[in-house]
């Protein structure tokens, strides 16, 4: 058991126990085995941490980070572990810092429309709490029932509502970050406007735990829209659906959600959940409009007209909350349905300019077909963010290799079309090899310089974002 992957030793583990208490330091093999993964399918590979710590306050985080820095021990912060690019996987061993115990909403300020939270607060819980006060925290990653604010900030996660409301980056006003040397950095503040020097806050949003550990965040809230309406519009071709998307946007309507699912996705959902999706259509648009009651009615009618104009075969509009839930259920069960097809499912994430969506979807299908892989394509069409969900069995070597090749081609295609590697999942360990495809040398050089400045010993989530 004293086989360590990093510079950690028994003496250091004892100091960790002194700082955090015995119950908050896990070193048994079986415990560490449960912290070697996140939601990324990586097959048989095993990256064991040497210790898992569960801090309960900032002071403990500070002391742990200091010890790690002094001894050159990697430290990987995580909470719900729902990352899809291996962001929480301790590639170089060391310490995994599980922030599940720092899950308090510290303050909700209704006058200033802000809230202050600990990193382990679950996004869905925060949304519920503020919603009870008539407020709204829009970012809605699919995992919101478990994923946390800390993780959302680290990955700058988005979700279906990103089209109208933006993503996590648009809601972070201020941060308290524990830096690699154990000093606390306070960025931003509590105001929406703030141009006092460099915008360090945004530097940390999406930094994937490589620059510092977010220990507290001040977030922007907005008033909750009065009403929502959900619609499904079915099309016989991807092109028609894409034209409808362009039509909606050029008519200056901004739906909260403008998602798309392809035929394969609909068929798969229908096979497992029987929600009444047609299996003979090529695409469905999932639309949600919100706002004041009157405005929702107007937007809904406009969208119906536009979809009809571009050849929608059928449009389902929710008449009440229950129907709205049913329509959303159809969309939300997509991942689960794909997960039931084969043992493993890999959710990819790429962005392209909005008008390139039909081309990108067609090419994606062509790529995965060529590699004999089952792919269900869905995504946030409004912001050009497409998620091909690939269903496979990673124990099958050929399939696993084919997936690698197909993924690379997928990113090449996205970049060719003027897009990029990730819309909302991040780079992590899975896409670090593709960074040079998407960014120029100078960008990478300055990013690496920034990393070196904040974390000269490379102890914070090493091996992520950049290939070493």
């Amino acid at each position: 058991m004293s086989e360590f992957n990093s510079n950690i030793n028994d003496e250091i583990i004892n100091s960790l126990k002194l700082i955090l208490g015995n119950q908050n330091v896990l070193t048994d093999y079986e415990d560490r085995y449960c912290y070697a993964y996140d939601a990324t399918a990586i097959g048989e590979a095993l990256y064991l941490p040497d210790a898992v710590v569960l801090p309960e306050n900032k002071e403990q985080i500070c002391q742990v980070v200091k010890i790690a820095n002094e001894n050159n021990i990697p430290i990987v912060p995580r909470a719900a572990g729902t990352n899809l690019v291996g962001g929480c996987i301790p590639l170089k061993g060391g310490i995994v810092m599980h922030l599940s115990k720092m899950n308090k909403i510290l303050n909700i300020d209704r006058n200033n429309l802000i809230c202050t939270v600990q990193p382990g607060v679950i996004v869905g819980n925060l949304q519920q709490e503020v919603s009870d006060l008539g407020l709204f925290y829009p970012p809605d990653p699919a995992s919101l029932k478990v994923s946390t604010i800390g993780g959302s900030i680290a990955q700058s996660s988005g979700g279906p509502r990103g089209f109208k409301y933006g993503t996590t980056k648009d809601y972070v006003l201020g941060l308290e970050v524990m830096l690699a040397d154990g000093t606390l950095l306070k960025t931003g503040g509590t105001t929406v406007k703030n141009v006092t020097g460099y915008n360090l806050t945004q530097l940390f949003v999406g930094s994937e735990g490589t620059l510092g550990i977010v220990v507290e965040a001040t977030l922007k809230l907005i008033p909750k829209p009065e009403e929502q309406q959900v619609m499904l519009a079915y099309f016989e071709s991807i092109n028609q659906a894409a034209e409808a998307i362009t039509g909606i946007i050029s008519a200056k309507i901004t739906p909260a959600t403008l998602d798309i699912m392809d035929k394969n996705t609909m068929t798969t959902i229908e096979n497992f959940h029987h929600v009444g999706l047609p299996t003979n259509m090529e695409a469905v648009l999932v639309l949600e409009v919100d706002g004041f009651k009157e405005s929702v009615a107007v937007q809904t009618q406009q969208i119906i007209d536009i979809c009809n104009k571009f050849g929608a075969k059928n449009i389902r509009v929710s008449q009440n909350q229950q129907e709205a839930d049913e329509l959303w259920f159809a969309r939300r069960s997509a991942f689960g349905a794909v997960a039931r097809l084969r043992p493993n499912v890999l959710t990819e994430d790429a962005v392209v300019p909005r008008d390139k969506i039909p081309e990108f979807i067609t090419k994606t299908r062509e790529i995965f077909d060529r590699y004999n892989l089952t792919v269900c394509i869905m995504g946030h069409a409004g912001d050009g963010n497409i998620h091909p969900n690939v269903s496979l069995d990673l124990r099958n070597k050929e399939e696993a290799e084919n997936f690698e090749k197909a993924a690379e081609e997928l990113f090449d295609t996205a970049i060719e079309l003027g897009g990029s590697l990730s819309g909302e999942h991040g780079i992590g360990m899975l896409k670090s090899g593709f960074m040079r495809k998407a960014l120029d040398e100078n960008s990478i050089k300055y990013m690496k310089e920034i990393k070196k400045l904040f974390d000269p010993k490379n102890i914070l989530n090493p091996g992520k974002i950049f290939n070493e």
Partner: protein
């Protein structure tokens, strides 16, 4: 005696299910244990990872993993939520079964389970409980007497006397004595009631379960009275043993199988219904077919279909509700995991409660989240169990209910345990107990 028995399913039989966990982690949102511990090792995703390690030969069963496997309530909440549809509860039982081969059960749990294996031991336990009850009665009355006395000294007009509640005492020990007392107190005594309906021809067997037989027969008395009042005659075979739920959950499949076969053999072939009042006892009949010898499999399957929870049985029929008797109380209902998720019965008890004159029904938050008792879990993991029960109790208190109803002997313990932690005296009833009270008042 179990020579030609069907082989029990073991972990290997679930290898594909365990492997297909996509590690999405959504189980964290519903796992009551994860909410209480915050540890990845305690949520289904973590357990599947360990089990997958065992199946692959990378890990071996040991004490640590055995302890880890204990940390599952078997509440099935994650199954409902799992995108891959993996049945954690079944897999945990199989894993514990396998784990038992290398790691013996804990002493207390083993002792508890042993008792359920024989009616003789349960009988002894009952005698013990009666002696204990007597002393408890004396002790509590003494304490109660003392607090009356103390209050009398404090309040001159004696008005405060009505407010004396022994569990307001700060002493945890006394609180728990009170808990046991409330569990043991027989609220409803059996009385022969005049049927209001003609005698039904249905051939009904009633499976009362251990709590009714050995601890407190209040619910049994109520079931009998309610059924008889509505014209249903029931038959209780003498040689029923424990349903075996605790043995199955603990992975002691051999004992479970023996109990299952005995219970199945007690039931005549021409039975129309097997009525259960306890959620757990009812759910177990559905497991029997997988655990009995070949010659009993068909009968077990048939009986599994004929097993019905008393709430469902009553809700499906036009039963008697006295028009002039009211219970003017606010009531909330806790869904036992074994009733809602294992038997899909959750509307029925609400339907019954809502039909009682005068009742104001108020739904609690998270009514179908586990109460924390989970069979022997409350004994083997008291801390986590209490934390979960406490949360449940808070949700009950938030409704402002006068009475909380549930349909499971185990949940009654979980709810009482939580309520005591919160210094509450809200009584816990089975819906049939309310009906029985109603009928008793009606005949007065």
């Amino acid at each position: 005696m179990n020579e030609e028995k069907t082989k029990f399913k073991n972990l290997k039989d679930y290898a594909e299910d365990v492997y297909k966990c996509t590690k999405c982690g959504l189980c964290q949102s519903v796992c009551p244990i994860y909410k209480s511990t915050g540890l990845e090792t305690t949520v289904s995703r973590g357990k599947f990872t360990l089990l997958n390690g065992i199946i692959n030969g990378k890990l071996k069963f040991n004490k640590k993993i055995a302890k880890n496997l204990e940390l599952c309530l078997g509440c099935k909440a994650c199954y409902d939520f799992c995108p891959s549809g993996i049945s954690t509860e079944e897999i945990m039982a199989a894993a514990r079964h396998e784990s038992l081969k290398t790691n013996k059960m804990g002493f207390i749990k083993g002792f508890l389970l042993d008792n359920f294996r024989s009616n003789f031991r349960l009988g002894l336990l009952k005698i013990g409980l009666n002696i204990y009850k007597f002393f408890l009665f004396v002790t509590l009355n003494f304490i109660e007497g003392l607090s009356y006395f103390r209050l009398l000294l404090k309040s001159q007009d004696g008005k405060m006397l009505n407010q004396v509640q022994h569990d307001n005492s700060s002493n945890k020990f006394i609180k728990y004595l009170t808990l046991f007392n409330s569990q043991l107190r027989e609220n409803i005594k059996y009385k022969k009631l005049k049927p209001v309906k003609p005698q039904s021809e249905l051939n009904i067997v009633y499976f009362p379960g251990c709590i009714n037989n050995y601890v407190n027969s209040s619910i049994k008395n109520s079931v009998l009275m309610v059924l008889e009042k509505n014209g249903f005659k029931v038959n209780i075979p003498k040689n029923f043993t424990c349903c075996g739920i605790a043995a199955r959950s603990a992975g002691d499949f051999q004992s479970f199988s023996e109990l299952a076969e005995n219970n199945i053999n007690q039931i005549p072939d021409n039975v129309d219904y097997i009525i259960t009042d306890c959620a757990s006892c009812g759910s177990v009949w559905k497991f029997y077919p997988d655990f009995v010898s070949q010659k009993l499999v068909n009968k077990a399957k048939l009986l599994a279909q004929k097993t019905i929870n008393v709430n469902k049985f009553l809700a499906e029929r036009e039963i008697y509700f006295p028009e002039n008797i009211k219970i003017s109380k606010k009531i909330t209902y806790h869904d036992p995991c074994h009733l809602k998720r294992f038997q899909n019965v959750f509307e029925e008890p609400r339907k019954i409660l809502n039909q009682i004159q005068g009742i104001y029904f108020k739904e609690m938050k998270d009514a179908d989240v586990c109460c924390g008792a989970a069979g022997t879990f409350c004994v083997s993991q008291p801390q986590i169990s209490k934390a979960i029960s406490s949360e449940k109790a808070q949700n009950i208190l938030d409704t402002g209910a006068d009475i909380v109803c549930t349909s499971c002997a185990g949940c009654k313990i979980g709810l009482s345990q939580g309520l005591i932690e919160k210094n509450s005296t809200i009584p816990v009833y089975h819906p049939v107990e309310l009906l029985a009270e109603l009928y008793l008042k009606d005949e007065k």
